[in-house]
Subunit: 648 residues, 2 copies
Amino acid sequence: MPLGERAGDKSESRYCGVETEFHDDMPQLLAHNVSSGGFDFVVSPLMDPSYRPSLMDRDHGGSGVLPFAGSDLVLSPSHWSSHVVGKISSWIDLDSEDEILRMDSEITLKQEISWASHLSLQACLLPAPKGTSCANYARCVNQILLGLNSMQLWLRIPLLKTDDDSMDVNPTNLVDSWELWNSFRMLCEHHNQLSIALDVFSIPSANSLGRWFGESVRAAIIDTDSFLTNSRGYPCLSKPHQKLITGFFNHSIQIVVSGKPVHSLPKGSRDLAANHNDSNFDGVQGHPLRPYLDYIGYLYQRMDPLPEQERFELGYRDFLQSPLQPLMDNLEAQTYETFEKDAVKYIQYQRAICKALQDRVPEERLSMTSTVLMVVGAGRGPLVRASLQAAEETGRKLKIYAVEKNPNAVVTLHSLVKLEGWENIVTIVSSDMRCWDAPEKADILVSELLGSFGDNELSPECLDGAQRFLKDDGISIPSSYTSFIQPVTASKLYNDVKSHKDLVHFETAYVVKLHNVARLAASQPVFTFTHPNRSTKRSNQRYKKLQFEIPSDTGSAMLHGFAGYFDATLYKDVHLGIEPSTATPNMFSWFAIFFPLRTPVIVHPGSALEVHFWRCCGPTKVWYEWCVTSPCRSPIHNSNGRSHWVGL
Amino acid sequence: MPLGERAGDKSESRYCGVETEFHDDMPQLLAHNVSSGGFDFVVSPLMDPSYRPSLMDRDHGGSGVLPFAGSDLVLSPSHWSSHVVGKISSWIDLDSEDEILRMDSEITLKQEISWASHLSLQACLLPAPKGTSCANYARCVNQILLGLNSMQLWLRIPLLKTDDDSMDVNPTNLVDSWELWNSFRMLCEHHNQLSIALDVFSIPSANSLGRWFGESVRAAIIDTDSFLTNSRGYPCLSKPHQKLITGFFNHSIQIVVSGKPVHSLPKGSRDLAANHNDSNFDGVQGHPLRPYLDYIGYLYQRMDPLPEQERFELGYRDFLQSPLQPLMDNLEAQTYETFEKDAVKYIQYQRAICKALQDRVPEERLSMTSTVLMVVGAGRGPLVRASLQAAEETGRKLKIYAVEKNPNAVVTLHSLVKLEGWENIVTIVSSDMRCWDAPEKADILVSELLGSFGDNELSPECLDGAQRFLKDDGISIPSSYTSFIQPVTASKLYNDVKSHKDLVHFETAYVVKLHNVARLAASQPVFTFTHPNRSTKRSNQRYKKLQFEIPSDTGSAMLHGFAGYFDATLYKDVHLGIEPSTATPNMFSWFAIFFPLRTPVIVHPGSALEVHFWRCCGPTKVWYEWCVTSPCRSPIHNSNGRSHWVGL
């Protein structure tokens, strides 16, 4: 049964498993651990650990029946698949110097996986590679993966605090287990059915741990040894461990309890929930690991419910969307509807417009001056409303032109103006701002043309076209905006891009609600645009070379691409943006953008990551190109905008 | 006019060019340098070097006609394309800190290339990158390459002796120009129209120079400063330079002479060929660089003519062929014909059979003993003949079974036996050796089932099947064989594989006459098979981990894949093979094999190259898998034999 209910959370992390020894009676094993023990699933060996193929041969013995834990008939197919994760014999060692052991290991591994997939298990747990070399193990697993049904293979990887984490300068031989995982998955070509079960030995630094949240971690194995004892004799976890477990919950990682009970509880005690508030404990003298499960359940239930916005965005997590093409395509009503609901954004606009109006018209000239404000790209009118509210708030008189190229939105605009009685103030213009012949010049130009990466929906080109009808001393809101990028590990996104098996998807920037990603360094500014732009030789082409440094305690990490953000100055100190360190809170109009890399790049601590971004402009389109030149060289992505571009 | 005639040589290196200054009268330039000067082509600027787009703009001046060297009408299209290589303005600097210079450079580069391709020039020479950073230059060139006709772009790269070459341990700032080239071409994704013009400044070590012969070098530019003066006042080159030039000739690299004449020749001298044997000099007081051209021509003509075998193999150089599938397919008459001509191979077999017969039958028992010899895979009979000749040579009595599965070859065998009158000695068996029910056991089993990689045509499986009818103390010829691999730079092969745009071709081993490759380290043994194989648990699966070390004076190099060879012990000290260090001379039955890598790997000196090869066996096929695990991890290639396998 799940650990509990957490409002909004539908992730796998509600389920908790237990690692067991081999038992030849699987129904009894499940009865003990699941039905009465309270765990959701067992991680159990499928084959008698004493079995060795080479010994079998020599004896010519037996009936040819392999020593599996029960036939497929002892449980219903759905019981097998929902409650059993197969644990592959841990003695296997495919990279041993001993050829017989290698051969035995390969045969056994293939037999057990074949049996597990016959049972339609959801996953098997593969033992951790024994040494630092794992090529033969990976070769064998890769062969299996290519012929596998939908079963996942969880590679057991120790989670360790390495010397790097402690910033110690003395080099030691302690290997970073991430490197082991990385070798293995690269040899298996990032196969999406190969994932990780972290075996928690110790807790690395936040940066080192953070890497894993961009990888495909499915389970975390906590040994009973990791638990402390509270004042009443019950198991509990240290604060760092609690934080670790909560981190796992937040990244949809299932907990598996492992090991022997190491706490002797007060006899007959019914008060297992002694120092935590809630427990489903039923009083039966049951499973010896039940107190550990209860504690994990307590941690789960103790978490805050998901905030409203997070719940709304849950379905978008790590889901790639193509960015809008607002110039070439007309937005649909549904899209306008969604974006208009973003109250925070329009409050910021209103604040900016207020300040601009106050600067433009001093108090003493309030009554005689009327300000000409043009909303360019008015859509269905939210900025018209914000402007009028700003006028009311500041007592300034306004004359508004609402310019909109989408004739469908213009229909709505007309109704709105009529409904609100704004006919004397607002003039609706059904035209593209780049070719409209304005009857007078504007004091203030207000627009909301920004994409997740700032200029990526061609705000610069549109506003360059519109500034013809802005007075020489006129104000543009926004007055400037800057894009940002940040290197990320994002194996889920990488695999989704890769699944299309073409170049185009690897050279496309996506809008995405980033969740299971590791942010490897602080973001850095890329391109800035300022409006109005009065320079005579203006070009919206840009080129930026960036250098990132990965914190040394992170260890090596995999770079799958770049998260992109923007920050805009609407007017003076009023800004709006999604760059993580300065993001406007509670705004939902923009997810981040994601620029993938065709080949993921391993970044080692201490070696610089050098990245180049270009904004290129042609007669009919604008596009980005990007590449990495250090620590290695990628090809130039999206050359000539061959894969992805925004039409003018 | 070409440098001269060299028997068998049809390569581009017969042509010699000259680098010139800008001249606005192209016909006159050609008349001077080609018609009367004797060069085959000029490398000349196409545009006035004083042109700057940004200055043009500011002046609003001119008619809008760009200052190109003459219109396309001043020469016929074929003159333009056969005699002019466009030299792109050398002032361009796309990675300058100065944005105006960057912009001017991009505009100019695109204008000049556009003009050159309008003229259908065969190539343009791009100036060397100015600094160590070349990302923006590469981005721009990459954009051009993607839209280019068949024109080649030669990137000028200085050939320098670096400190690494001199084995100096002091690190210096002198950059290895190979790194520059490598950055550039990786950013341009190994585009096959991007190649190299080496600008010879100094001569690096043999290993360092060797790298370039695996790269796409089209031209080598020799400055007149590089020439010495001989005792008669004429230009000549040092021995190392002579060797360098000969190396270029051997790798189809054209020479371009550059610079001002620095030798003042004896006035009116007609004896330009003073210390070289041959010259086409016509006595006209012509081109000031003519003595340099003559000297280059002298070096060309002085080379040995291509040997017969090289001439025969010329058309196969660096041409990828699929290996034979001799078990699944029956060879054709043409194929038998070709292989039977390899006299050296059968002489080695005959020597081995002689020794085996002598060991088998002592002199004193000569008359009473008849040896049973079975040729398994007899084809059209060359080994039958070699066996009979060995019997005659040693005076041993033979009884031969000639086993052949190809019924077409059996027809020829029957005719041969009849024609030669061997009916009493030779029994022809039309059967697959793996299932033939032999009437008696053999003393000697002779086979020629080896492929370029030894076991790759399934000799092990065939001989395992045949050894049933070999006496316990019987002899197999060959008695063992070993495969070898060697890391190579082979950009031509890589691009040919890549051109198929699929995975299959990157996971196939090819038979190929290696020519323009750089062998980065000595070859190492991979798999060995010994026959007969009497072990009870025999398996023909193999796994080998290899470590190569690139000589430190090589510098970094690109690994495109592995050359594969074999060496076989026929009997005792009689061997046969193509492994370079021990190859049997004048044998033409086998080219090397080439295992490509899906992504080329940069190997740095000092860091180990670790490679894994597997020979995998399934019920119906045998295949290889391979991967690199150091300095980086490749995916496992050809998992499950998905792309390439040999059918049983």
